[in-house]
């Protein structure tokens, strides 16, 4: 068993985790202003603490069902602050986990119908986390916001 620092959150019915070191902060979702010629998952611009940043819809980006987008996870994507809209942040901190094999990760990924390119690995929660309604044995998929780099490319080609 190991403990690792994660931000765990939900998007639709899927549960994700992101290395906590990549997260700047989590804030309630703010108003979003759409921008011209952006791909669908790029929702537009929003202001977080006086800074304008792009907002990416996690559910559209991962290719899963619609979500509430109730919170923004603010993280650095290639040096740029970017907000990722998610449903519900669940917990941030050291999580007791057991790593899944690549095969098991693949299986979970297929189950959740998630675009494989965003998934780094899968792991399973080993203990209840105090005060939170999470069962042990729940599987999470680990993603990294820097994998959104394709966002930039897609946007640039939108310039065409």
């Amino acid at each position: 068993m190991s403990r690792r620092d994660f931000l765990v959150f939900e998007v639709g019915a899927a549960k994700f985790a992101m290395p906590l070191s990549l997260v700047e902060e989590v804030v309630p979702a703010g108003q979003i202003t759409p921008v011209p010629d952006a791909p669908g998952f790029f929702l537009g611009l929003s202001a977080v603490r006086g800074k304008v940043m792009g907002v990416v819809d996690a559910s559209l980006r991962y290719g899963i069902g619609p979500s509430l987008n109730s919170h923004f996870v603010v993280c650095r994507v290639r040096g740029n602050l970017t907000a990722i809209a998610v449903d519900r942040p669940v917990v941030a901190g050291a999580v007791p986990v057991r790593d899944l094999s690549p095969e098991a990760t693949e299986e979970k990924r297929n189950e959740a119908k998630i675009d494989a390119s965003f998934v780094v690995a899968g792991f399973e929660l080993l203990e209840d986390i105090e005060g939170l309604e999470i069962d042990t044995g729940v599987t999470f998929l680990e993603i990294r916001p820097d994998l959104f780099v394709t966002t930039e490319m897609a946007l640039r080609t939108g310039e065409g």
Binding site: Q31, P36, D37, V52, G54
Partner: protein
Amino acid sequence: MDQDLELLQAFLAESTDILNRMAGDIDSLRLDPANADTVHALFRAVHTIKGNSSFLDLTGVTALSHAAETLLDKARNGALSGREALPQLLTLATDDLRAMIEGQEFTLDVSATVAAIETHLRGEAPAPMVAAAAPATEAPPVSKPMDAARVNSNFTRVSDDKIARILSVASELELLRYSLEQFPERLESAAPALADLRFDMELQVGKLSRLSRSLRSLIFGVRLVPVNQAFQRFPRVITELGKKLGKEIKLQIQNGVAELDKFIVEAIADPMTHLIRNAADHGIETAEERVRAGKAPQGTVRLNSYLRANFVYIEISDDGRGIDGDRVLAKAVEKGIVPAEKAASLTEAQKLGLIFAPGFSMAAQVTDISGRGVGMDVVKNNINQLKGTVILDSKLGRGTTIQLRFPMSMAVLFSLFVDVGATKCAVPVDQVDESMDYFAGELLPSVPDGADPAEYLALYSIRGLLFHDETPAGLQRRCFHTLRFKDEPTKAFIVEEFSAIEEAVVQSLDAYIAALPGLQGATIRKDGSVALVLNPQSIAAIAERTLPLGYVKKHVQVVEEIGAPPFADLA
């Protein structure tokens, strides 16, 4: 002498940074010896040190960096055997460079290191190295006793990150001020009996506003410096270049009132030096050549900086021979940068753009000044890293102009807020010439035969141009609100609604968002939502490629000569 000291200070600070970066690159080279990017980065680094040191007559530094550069040049061209020795030789060289630069021991004997590099080079290339041998062997001892008066680098280096955080707090404060300013009025309309309280509050909020504004301008004061600070070293650079090249070159510095982030101004000095060297070396012809072409014998290099929209432009132009697009193309095909079968389809601008490709060089001879296949790609990379853009324009026989364009980090612009579809947008007031309503009945399918086109306006919908979702119903309006942008006398742009003229703190966007069409930035509104700051030039350019919705005859404007022009009190 003061200028010399200043140059030396700048050289020391810059070279220390470069050496630190090189240390990291040499480490990565040990792990991944085949990485071409690393070799390229190292090459550029020593190239910069060499170029700058040669202007300061630091012959030891120049000789050693020249040797290291030759080594790296061979390595990046795949012509260096015994490549595994590269990290070790580079460490040797950078240790000596560091001793000279950080310790200001410019007279340090570097001949052993230079010899080690040359031996290695000769080991696999018996042919004499034309470029490497000359300065290394005949390097005279440094004449200036620089270490007698040791130079202090009186720079305070504050991390960009820290300043960014201060700025973000300041802009949050600005936001708070905006919303607080509305409170007194809201208070009175909610409870008219509290009029006294309202006035008190107004007074206090007014004080807060002034403080917040002056805090903002103070922070900007720390960060913004005149762009022409970066120009200071160039008169001397041009004089030296003229002497070395045997050309008559005059430097004209124009305007130079624009201000930019201190960090950017420091960082552009190096790419600008490259550009000026290129202009003098490749652009300006010899006096005889110029006279034959019917030009004045003395060539001119011009530096200019100015503000336009939310951008600062820095222009380096020369009245030299210009760049021959076809020659550039031929060279690029020869070097394998462009496949021969694609060559015919390139436009003139694309041909010129090849100059920015890595490894491209036009110079027939390798010179000490420029022309070793480094230059334009370095310039472009450096400028792009600063969120800037390089724009090249050249007319054969007439000269070359290079524009460096930087977004202002945060500008406060009085802006007209408009609705484009459901999106709030802002257009800086100084970029709007006119706002006017036209009625649906005035709409014409084309300019009538025989009429003066200058009296008509082509109508475009901004919503249609940017969001491609102009509905037919949207065009059934009885009345069109339009904007006419500066320098676009025959186009008018439809918006859904005009709202207010307000101060907008315009934030520049991350590069990948700024690449979207029609935008020059974003601003946060009083309610915390984001409004897009439109770029009229870019919108007009999109309109240029689009059919207008129709035409209207311009309304004759009644110009009243009484009082101030509109918005004058705001601007």
